[in-house]
């Protein structure tokens, strides 16, 4: 299965938003994560602690697999170090996930 780049990015956003909806079930009402590209996920002023981030990664990988039909490993770098910045915001994560998906699908 191959998708064009813009479709990969759209698909990644869709998968991440679906993962956020699922993760919100674990979060208090006043700490639920909004589905917007600029939402800060992890790091300074991030909304996820390390356990929530771990759960979020696994849920997102599952949603990406459902979207793209391929397995995507979002933990090739240490997600907790913050050095890669992939998990900084919803948008940075979407770009990272779509790039991994593109590589996997050969584009």
């Amino acid at each position: 299965m191959t998708l064009r780049t813009s479709n990969h990015l759209d698909g990644a956003f869709d998968a991440i938003y679906a993962a956020i909806a699922e993760l919100n079930l674990q979060l208090p009402r006043n700490k639920q994560i909004q589905r917007r590209p600029d939402i800060v996920l992890f790091g300074e002023n991030g909304q996820l602690d390390s356990l929530a981030l771990a759960n979020f990664i696994v849920i997102t990988e599952q949603k990406l697999e459902e979207s793209f039909g391929i397995q995507v490993d979002l933990t090739q770098d240490d997600p907790f170090s913050g050095q890669s910045g992939h998990f900084r915001t919803v948008e940075s994560l979407a770009r990272y996930a779509s790039s991994l998906a593109e590589n996997k699908t050969g584009e």
């Binding site: 699922e22 993760l23 079930l25 674990q26 979060l27 390390s50 356990l51 771990a54 759960n55 696994v58």
Partner: protein, 580 residues
Amino acid sequence: MNSDAFNLRLVSDFNIETLGRYLDHDAAWPRITSAAAPFGQIFPSLLETGIGESDQDFCFIWSSLEGAVPSSRKMLDFDLVDREALFAEVSYFAECVKKCHTRFKATFVASWTVPSFYRGLGILDFQSATGLRRLTLEMNLALVKALEGSAGIYVLDASRWLEITGNPWSPKLWYLSKTPYRSEVFGKAAQELKVAIGTLLGSARKLVVIDLDDTLWGGIIGEVGWENIVLGGHDHRGEAFVDFQRALKSLRNRGILLAIASKNQEEVALQAFQKRPEMLLRLEDFAGWRINWNDKAANIAALASELNLGLQSIVFIDDNPVERARVREALPEVLVPEWPEDRTSYASTLLQLNCFDLPQITDEDRARTQMYIRAREREKGKAEYQSVEAWLHSLETTVTVEELNESNLPRVVQLLNKTNQMNLSTRRMTGNELSEWLKQERRRLWAFRVRDKFSDSGLTGIVSLQADAESCRIVDFLLSCRVMGRDVERVMVAVAIQCCRSLGCAELIAKYLETAKNKPCRDFWMKSGFAYNETESSFSWTAARPYPTPSHIQVIEPGRDQSERELLRSPEGNVSAALL
């Protein structure tokens, strides 16, 4: 922390925080506030003392196999397993659970599971004495047996929570956070824990009201006739309706009442019960019915009134979404589950409902439908008598009074936790708590069994008292709705007064604690003859004054012969001090 929430201690050898988050953020009743013990320290957590004694209600223990039974690591590694040592460790774990339980009202223990990615010994896994799945089954069974008889400890089937997703285990989550399962598994476990706690708090539904056409059978009987309704036979839809009836019958066998609310002509609809041999459910399986053209919500309310049940005890099943919406809107306390369009899913949808779980099933539960049928006969007979008094006399009611003992404890606890209407204080307690409460000086509890010429209603009433130097206070006064309004209440009051006198107290006081459901209790006490203190919402009686018991009820204390029983009643119809 929400003051209305129940406290739940989580004990695990893995990171169980995700479960706590699901529980803490679910606003549905019962609200839970969880606190996780440090993970990786399961035995210190089980054996710790002094923590949680005052502020923890429930405990949930979810351990991996090797966390609870260290020798099982060898089993997973195909190392040589000493079975004796393995099962000794299971016993030790069970003893630790029991010790832990002494600090809580109830303790839940998850059964052990083996990750599906362990293939074990393949085709030999159940055959070999050291097969992974065989040993896991045996260890679970050993745990269940070791905990059997420990009141308030419940082993929950964790394998059901893992079925929520095709791949419940996540090695990645394990390495990232020491959490073995995906989020959905914890979400499902949280739901089931809330159901388990709700069950102990008396949330079980008691009555299923069911539609007929296209629900109990296929087709509209008024249009196609009893001969042509779809039921049984060599037809996948007909077989599905029979299976749905079988599922309903299984509920009835557990003590859940069945009733009918159908828009039909009654004599036409009843022909299906009389003439179709494929009908698994017979009319005698139903505690009542309303088959007419009236509003279904009104019919359900009438059934609730007839059966003396609160609306919160009822589940309504109908294939018609309009009828479901109407009942939801008119009777919000009634549970109206969404119903599948696919008739082949009716039985499985019914069997999945988690609102019928009971903390124990007593003989009274199993015989409940028969009791209601007898009650219907009793009420029918009422019209034949000139007065209510004459009718009450005709019932030949006998009330047997007994103390709390091992055999009646489960039923007493069940009544205590589920009776809403005739309940003075609505005090909810576990068996352990009740036994502890009774150990204190000058506290008494009596249980009341009721039978008449129609049926044996079983243990249906409780009175408990607490005395100080001057006065005696009724702590619990509750009676099953099945026998309300037949003067059994007055016998219970008389017993309480006699007990008050024997304890040397001058006055008996009953303080009414209002709930949304116990107005019938207030109505009884207002007519009881006791002096009413409106400010205190309490009722009092001078112990020296005899309390007239109804002459149409025979009061018995087991262990006394007939001549002694006669002594229990004074010429005025008072319960004698011999009872006490």
